[in-house]
Amino acid sequence: MSLPGLPLLLQSIVSGILMGGVYGLIAIGLTLIFGVMRIINFAHGSFMMLGMFTTYWLFIVLGIDPYLSLLISIPLLFVLGLIVERFLIAQVLDAPEYNQLLLTLGISLFIENFALFLWSPNFRALNVPYVKKTATVGTLMISLPKVIAFLFAIFFTVLLYYFLRKTDLGKAIRASSEEKEGALTVGINLRRIYYVAFGIGTACVGAAGTLIAPFFYVNPHVGGVFVITAFVVVVLGGMGNLIGALVGGLIIGLAESLGAAFLPGQLKQFIIYFIFILVLLFKPEGLFERRSG
């Protein structure tokens, strides 16, 4: 590569890793739900959109700082996840896989178009003063909100990791994910585990929505942009593998930003789908050996 390409390369690597952390957080919610319940949650992107709008409205109406609104968006999405699991998902746990997929599709159609009905398809942006700040290191430009999003994403991932490792509830979730029958025999209440795991999954993606809101447009269909990427990340990292989801997120973040720098237009996304199909075909268990938690 010629010399002028080097700063661009560095720049892409840095922004790729920053975005990758957020992809990881979105994908961890998805992979947790899949690992425990074997459900591919198509509504994941809709929950993220709700997280973004929570932050948006809290900022617009009450002037609450976007990062402070994490304290509201996370519990809100957690409770919403519990409700959706309890009343809808729980009804189809024994149904064929594609019916489960269709149910989550129906939920996402409803949520997204209800949001469209309430809030119009307009593209909105959060105008937070410090959001436009970028730090310059040599030739590198690093946008502040992306750094914050990345740090929070890593923080939440580590938090979740320790929750699953150290607490009884976390251990029960991991047990149900690895060995359903075994978990039942030792007296774990699977119903309750599903309930909580789904809630945690939606809380993760709600947090991700809040973190993205300061530097991405907000619109009822914004979730669709991220949900397919999240599927790719989850499959890449191995369905149900949390660490795999984080690493997969970083890989996809990097692939995307390098693709954006060196390929014309939308072809970066093209590369991601191409990787996706290849992994599905040749390495469906993901790039890493499955290790839960």
Partner: protein, 314 residues
């Protein structure tokens, strides 16, 4: 007898309908057609595709581009688009089935395929056709597949729906239909009985992708304008499969029943809540959730099961 009466009724119907209802019925036949095509692969053979927009878009783009650039007649373009769709279907099908992609994973791979094609179209269209591709208007004639009035489209879509229903019926009565169902219910067991699952899944894929691509040309000729979102978008893949799922996947008349219900619902919500685009999708989502929870095999599937239970009870 009932069929013949129904057929005659549908044939004379446009005489009594205004433009609006002729359009509504055309859409019912058209989505019924697409749903029935999807149903052969997704309903009968149990290979759940989430990316039929790939075939639909290939058909729409093939006939449109051939027509604009080479002056190829749209009917020939329709056939060629179908063939291209079929080849694409065989390609992704042989890859997916060879490597044992099943259930939701096959669905996701199909989704990724459609999205890849959409992105290529976005990239290419942004330069050449930023406003979508418009088919130049010519005289109303069957030869050019263009009509000033709605009725001819009504008849073409009616014919397409009837033909594909008849095809489904033939498949169901033949050995192929039983093979499809055997593969859907238990693929390993079907193979143990000597059914070449790979081959029959590819058959289902070929028929379904060809027909869906042909539908793409109908769409292009009906609206005389296509863009990448309208023919390759995720929304297309979703609308194609909603009909069969709600009406009853793996039944002959399920997709057309589903399409009828959905189109009427969508018109009702549009009239009820004017000015809100996308509201009908909210209703679709609700119907989908309700059907999946209460009638997991669709309306006709549920009726069939209920009937079987009743006759067994006697």
């Amino acid at each position: 007898m009932i069929l013949a009466a129904g057929g005659i009724f549908l044939l004379i119907l446009p005489r009594f309908l205004g433009r609006y209802f002729t359009h509504l019925f055309t859409m019912i036949f058209f989505f019924g057609y697409l749903g029935t095509a999807w149903n052969i692969l997704g309903g009968y053979a149990g290979q759940f595709s989430f990316g039929h927009a790939a075939f639909f878009g290939v058909g729409a783009f093939t006939s449109t581009l051939l027509q604009i650039h080479l002056g190829v007649n749209p009917w020939i373009g329709m056939f060629l688009g179908g063939v291209l769709g079929l080849l694409l279907g065989l390609f992704i099908g042989s890859l997916s089935f060879r490597y044992g992609l099943r259930g939701p994973f096959f669905a996701l791979a199909m989704l990724a395929l459609a999205e890849m094609l959409r992105l290529v179209a976005v990239e290419w269209m942004a330069v050449k056709y930023p406003l979508g591709i418009t088919i130049p208007i010519r005289d109303s004639s069957l030869l050019y597949f263009q009509f000033a009035s709605k009725a001819p489209y009504y008849y073409i879509s009616l014919f397409m729906a009837a033909a594909v229903l008849y095809l489904t019926r033939i498949i169901e009565e033949r050995r192929m239909g039983s093979y499809f169902k055997a593969i859907r219910e238990n693929e390993s067991a079907a193979e143990a009985l000597g059914i070449n699952a790979f081959r029959y899944k590819l058959w289902a894929m070929a028929i379904s992708s060809f027909l869906t691509a042909v539908g793409g040309t109908f769409y292009a000729q009906y609206y005389l304008n296509i863009d990448e979102e309208a023919v390759f978008g995720v929304a297309v893949s979703i609308e194609v499969l909603l009909g069969p799922i709600i009406g009853g996947a793996g039944t002959v008349f399920g997709p057309i029943l589903g399409a009828t219900i959905l189109e009427f619902l969508s018109e009702m919500t549009r009239n009820f809540l004017r000015g809100y685009s996308g509201v009908h999708l909210m209703v679709y989502g609700t119907v989908l959730v309700v059907v999946i929870i209460f009638l997991p095999s669709g309306i006709l599937g549920g009726l069939q099961m209920g009937y079987r239970k009743l006759s067994k009870g006697r």
